[in-house]
C-alpha cells in the first residue's frame, strides 16, 4: 500500500535520483522536481489499490517468445559511417573522459 506520504519524495531523494540518472541538477531544479514528483505520484497513487496479486503483470502487448533470424551475415556499420557523429574520436576509438580517480 502506497500513499502520498509514504512515497518518500524529499529533496535528498531527488538529489539521489539525479545522481542515478546522471543529471547534474541545479538547486532550483531539485526544489521544483521535489514538488512535482510528489504531486504526480500523489495523483496516481490510486493504482496501487486496484490490482490484486493474482493478476499477472503485462510487460509487453504481444505475448513474446524468442525470435530468431536466419544465420546470415549482413553488412554492419562502417567506422566512417559513425565517426562524424562522435563527440571525440582518436586512434580508431571513441575518446572518453577519464573513468578512474577522484576529480582534481
Amino acid at each position: 500500500m502506497t500513499d502520498a506520504a509514504a512515497n518518500g519524495i524529499d529533496q535528498d531523494l531527488v538529489v539521489h535520483l539525479g545522481k542515478l540518472a546522471r543529471l547534474e541538477l541545479t538547486d532550483v531544479e531539485v526544489e521544483h522536481y521535489t514538488l512535482q514528483l510528489e504531486q504526480i505520484l500523489g495523483a496516481i497513487t490510486s493504482i496501487s489499490e486496484v490490482a490484486a496479486d493474482d493478476i499477472p503483470p503485462t510487460s509487453h502487448p504481444i505475448p513474446m517468445v524468442n525470435v530468431y533470424r536466419e544465420d546470415v551475415a549482413i553488412p554492419g556499420l562502417l567506422q566512417e559511417d559513425f565517426v562524424p557523429g562522435a563527440p571525440s574520436f582518436e586512434d580508431d576509438r571513441f575518446r572518453v573522459p577519464r573513468i578512474l580517480g577522484e576529480p582534481t
Binding site: R22, S48, A51, V67
Partner: protein
C-alpha cells in the same frame, strides 16, 4: 492541375502516374508553401529543398521508365524527427542530438524511398516524444494552423501541423500515448496508430519500447490507408514486428460501410473533464453512425480510469532506461569544460544541458519507479493494471466490432497555458493511452468544430489488435457522411494563413 498543395495524396499520385503533373512540380509547390508559411507554423526542423527536388526528379525518371508503380510514387511526405534518416539531421526535438546525422535509415524511411515517396524534411516534436503540445521541443513550439496562438497537439505536432497547413499531403508520426491521434484531433486531420508490431520500429528513436508505434498522418482517411499500406509489414530487424500478411487497408477504406455493425461507446471516456463542444460533436457523430446503419451500444471499461496512472509509471520507467544511451560518449553533444572531469561528471553535465525540463522530469520519475523499495508498489502494479485494461478491451470487443470515444477531451489550448502543470498536460491523453497499453489500433478523424471556440474536434475509433482494416472501413463511412454535409473536408474551413 490547380492548387497542387490542396490535393489529396491519392489525387496527386494518380496525376503523377498519368504524367499530368510531375513529382518535381508537386514537390516544388509544397516547398514553396513551406517557405511561405513555416516561419509562422514552425512545423519543420529541417528542410533541404535541393535534395527533395533532386529526389523528385529521380522519381519522375523512374516513373517515366515504368520502374515505379507504387500507389504513392512521387508524392511528398514530412517525417517526424525521431525517424533515423541517413546523413540527414535527426534531433528528436532535443538539443542533446543537435547536429547529429544518423549513419542509417529507419525501415520506414527505406520503405518510403522504395515506394518513390519524396521526403520534404523533418518535423518538430516534443523532445523525445514526451508531451501533448510540441511546446517541449528544444527548438521552440509548433503553432496550430487553425489559430497560431494555440498548440497543434503533441508529441507529433509538427507532422500534424505540416499536413493541416498544406505544407505536405502526408506525414509520419509515432504514437506512444496518443502522439499521432491527439495532434490529428486538434488540427482537424486524420491520424492512425496501427496495431503494435504492425509497422517496424527499427530506426525509430525509442521512447517506451512496449508502447511506441509509428503510423500515418494525412487530411483524409483514404490517404492514411495508402500510407499505412506502404509502411506496414514484417521487418526482421525489429523482433517485435508481426510476421503476418498486411491486410488491404485501401479496400477497407473503399468499402466504407457500417451497416449491421455494433459500435461501442466507452462509458468511462465522456462526461467529466470533456469539453461540452467536444461531446456535442461526438454525440452528433453517433447519430450519423446510427443513420448509416450501425447499432450504438454503451460499454463499460472499468479499469480505464487507472490507465493514466499506469501509463505515467510504465512510460517513464521504459524511457529512463532507453534514454540512458544519450550520455555524450558516442554521438550527440558532449559538455566538457576541459578540467579533467570524470566520465560521470561529463555525462551528468551533458544530460543536464542537453535534456529539457519534461524529459528530466520523466527520467526522474522512471528512475524512482524502478528503484528498489518502490518497484512493486509502482511499476509492478502498473503492469498488472495493463493486464486489466487489456481484459476490459477483450470484454468490450466480445460485444461490439469497434469502440468510439472523443480523441482528446478538449480542443487546442493556448501555447503556454499548461506548460508548467504536468498533471494538466497529461490529462490530454486520457482517451488515447488505453490503446497503447493494450497494443491494439485506433484512428482519429475530424468530426467538426466545437461550438464554443470554433476549433476542430476528433473522434477516435478503436479496433482489436490486427483489425486495423476496421478503422478504415468505419472511418471512411463516417468521413464521407460528414463530407456530404459539409460539402468538403473540415480542413478546408481552416484559415488560409
Amino acid at each position: 492541375m490547380n492548387d497542387l498543395i490542396r490535393q489529396s495524396a491519392a489525387t496527386l499520385a494518380t496525376a503523377i502516374a498519368r504524367k499530368e503533373v510531375s513529382s518535381e512540380e508537386v514537390t516544388h509547390a509544397h516547398l514553396d508553401r513551406i517557405s511561405e508559411v513555416d516561419e509562422r507554423v514552425h512545423a519543420f526542423l529541417f528542410v533541404d529543398p535541393d535534395a527533395s527536388i533532386a529526389r523528385a526528379r529521380e522519381v519522375d525518371q523512374q516513373i517515366a521508365k515504368g520502374e515505379l508503380s507504387s500507389p504513392l510514387a512521387g508524392v511528398p511526405i514530412a517525417l517526424k524527427d525521431l525517424l533515423a534518416t541517413k546523413g540527414v539531421p535527426t534531433t528528436c526535438g532535443s538539443r542533446i542530438l543537435e547536429g547529429w546525422r544518423p549513419p542509417y535509415n529507419a525501415t520506414i524511411v527505406d520503405k518510403l524511398h522504395a515506394a518513390g515517396v519524396v521526403s520534404l524534411g523533418k518535423t518538430n516534436m516534443d523532445e523525445f516524444a514526451m508531451g501533448s503540445s510540441t511546446e517541449h521541443s528544444g527548438y521552440g513550439p509548433t503553432h496550430n494552423p487553425w489559430d497560431l496562438e494555440r498548440i497543434p497537439g503533441g508529441s507529433g505536432g509538427g507532422s500534424a501541423a505540416a499536413v493541416a497547413s498544406f505544407e505536405s499531403p502526408l506525414a509520419i508520426g509515432t504514437d506512444t500515448g496518443g502522439s499521432i491521434r491527439q495532434p490529428a484531433a486538434v488540427t482537424g486531420t486524420v491520424g492512425v496508430k496501427p496495431t503494435y508490431g504492425g509497422v517496424s520500429r527499427y530506426g525509430i528513436v525509442a521512447l517506451a519500447s512496449s508502447l511506441d508505434q509509428a503510423g500515418p498522418c494525412a487530411r483524409d482517411v483514404m490517404d492514411t490507408a495508402l500510407l499505412h499500406s506502404v509502411i506496414a509489414g514484417h521487418d526482421p530487424r525489429d523482433s517485435t514486428s508481426i510476421n503476418a500478411p498486411v491486410p488491404d487497408f485501401v479496400a477497407a477504406a473503399l468499402k466504407a460501410d457500417v451497416r449491421g455493425m455494433k459500435i461501442g461507446v466507452i462509458k468511462e471516456l465522456q462526461g467529466e473533464g470533456f469539453q461540452s463542444g467536444v461531446l456535442e460533436r461526438f454525440n452528433q457523430s453517433l447519430e450519423i453512425l446510427t443513420e448509416l446503419g450501425a447499432e450504438i451500444v454503451e460499454v463499460s471499461c472499468p479499469h480505464f480510469q487507472y490507465a493514466l496512472g499506469a501509463y505515467y509509471l510504465i512510460l517513464p520507467s521504459e524511457a529512463s532506461s532507453n534514454l540512458a544511451r544519450f550520455d555524450g560518449m558516442r554521438f550527440g553533444i558532449r559538455v566538457d569544460d576541459g578540467k579533467n572531469r570524470s566520465v560521470e561528471q561529463v555525462m551528468g553535465a551533458t544530460r543536464e544541458k542537453g535534456f529539457g525540463a519534461e524529459v528530466k522530469r520523466r527520467i526522474m520519475l522512471g528512475t524512482y519507479a524502478l528503484s528498489s523499495g518502490y518497484y512493486d508498489a509502482y511499476y509492478g502494479q502498473a503492469q498488472r493494471i495493463r493486464t486489466l485494461i487489456t481484459r476490459d478491451f477483450e470484454a468490450a470487443f466480445s460485444k461490439v466490432d469497434v469502440l468510439v470515444s472523443p480523441t482528446s477531451p478538449i480542443t487546442a489550448f493556448k501555447i503556454g497555458e499548461k506548460l508548467d502543470d504536468p498533471l494538466a498536460m497529461y490529462l490530454n491523453d486520457i482517451a488515447t493511452i488505453p490503446v497503447n497499453l493494450a497494443g491494439n489500433c485506433a484512428m482519429s478523424l475530424p468530426i467538426g468544430l466545437a461550438s464554443e471556440d470554433g476549433l476542430p474536434v476528433g473522434l477516435q475509433i478503436i479496433a482489436p489488435a490486427m483489425a486495423d482494416s476496421l478503422l478504415y472501413q468505419v472511418g471512411s463511412a463516417l468521413e464521407s457522411a460528414l463530407v456530404d454535409r459539409w460539402g468538403g473536408l473540415l480542413i478546408s474551413e481552416a484559415p488560409s494563413l
